[in-house]
């Protein structure tokens, strides 16, 4: 059976989330929870001179939230902070295999993005 939401790319990121360890030497970090379900995304980032040198994203949550954190981690590696700021919801959904979750569940996919935004908002 074919899954509209749970496509191979999403499941792959869920089963093997990339950069899935928090960094001890983070220059930026944030811990964001989705109050409606208790899911939690923790983001750590090492950035120097406006460039991301390393990232670690750990999401406790559903497949969509975990995979959303994983594709985000991949896409920010080696980017400039200015480019990271441009990552939007549509891009995360595209990276997950062009999924179109219901509005309630879009928030799952972008929980890590929310955390990342708050991590870099202070600077």
């Amino acid at each position: 059976m074919k899954h509209e939401l749970y496509r191979e790319v999403l499941l792959d990121h869920y089963r093997n989330p990339r950069k899935n360890a928090l960094l001890a030497n983070a220059t930026h970090e944030a811990d964001t929870a989705n109050q409606s379900c208790g899911d939690r995304a923790r983001v750590t980032l090492v950035a120097r001179d406006g460039q991301v040198e390393d990232v670690g994203i750990v999401v406790d949550g559903c497949a969509l939230a975990v995979a959303g954190g994983s594709v985000l981690a991949e896409s920010v590696m080696g980017s400039s902070i200015a480019d990271v700021r441009k990552i939007d919801v549509a891009e995360i959904l595209a990276l997950l295999g062009n999924v179109a979750p219901s509005p309630t569940r879009v928030r799952c996919a972008t929980l890590a993005l929310e955390a990342l935004r708050s991590a870099i908002s202070e600077h």
Binding site: H3, Y6, L11, S36, C37, G61, L64
Partner: protein, 403 residues
Amino acid sequence: MRNEFPALQQRVNDFPFAYLDSAATTQKPHRVIAAMNAFYQTSNANVHRGIHTLAERASGQYEAAREAVARFIGAPNAQTVVWTRGTTDAINLVAASYLAPRIGPGKAVLTTLMEHHSNFVPWQQLCKRTGAELRVAPLTEDGRLDLAKFTELLTSDVELVAITHVSNVLGTINPLSQIVQAAHRVGARVLVDAAQSVAHLPINVQELDVDFLAFSGHKLYGPTGIGVLYAKPELLESMEPVQFGGDMVASVSVESASWDMPPGKFEAGTPPIAEVIGLGESVAFLTAVGMAAAEHHEARLMDFSLRLLQAVPGLRILGPTNPILRSGLVSFSLPSVHPHDLASLADERGVAIRAGFHCAEPLHRSLGMQGSARMSLGVYTTKQDIEQLVAVLHQVRDILNGR
């Protein structure tokens, strides 16, 4: 039975629609939808004040619905039935009108850990505001009310016991008669949240001797936006209105106003007339089905569901596993499967279930759980609906985690 519900006649995501979310809201039978349509098409007028044919017809249907609801719950008369927006609104009315003037430091409200937020937060906030104490009775390991602890907490300073009839997460049926008797012995009043029971178990407010009972129309095969507060006549007499305006007054001068008799004094403004008529029709529908028959149908399905669910490897069922102790719903979790993923995968196969905290966050936290998935039953539920869900449960771990 299923044929009487238009919304169940569709396919969802190319599967037969297995609606297992009746605890959130029930589907509506054709006759309820038709009654509301007919009202707008033939009888639409405001109630109580008009002196013309349609106004009198509308008022007649509106008050007939009140009588139907009173009969349905075994109330002594229609004047003990107050229309509200729903269960939450009914409970807030009791908090503001009945309890607020009677409570303060040295007094307590006793509730339980299995309450829906609607029967928890109003008391929590009222206690916070007035300096009264909120006592929360714990549960046993298998998700029943801990009656010994409950009785210890039930002392003469308790002004009100607020308790659900059936837990919307655990499915547990609380022993209301026993609780009401114990409460009355110490002089406490009892409010029962019947949102999860009124469409599933026969209820007689006089036999139970409850002081207040609240429920919502939409969980009873009726419309949203309408609910009921039943209260003993002397309590309604003693309560002051909390909303003021048209239709709730006896007379008004520039300086003052006097109130209509109950239930009118609690029903300010033009009510949701079509919804009241829809609720009257849904009560007629359930009466025709027969509450004993509805209870029996769901008890059989509960047996069937528990048996199938227990055969799913690793599945954890919340609440008592003895079907006699529960009604209407089963919440569960699967190790390493998030409830949201479960609900989404079920939806891809035409199965509607609920996932999350089910508006009972304190309970889930006490169970150490990040939410759960919940299937719930109605008069239209079939064994096939449940089989369709259980098939998903058997596949879901393979789908998510790979073989």
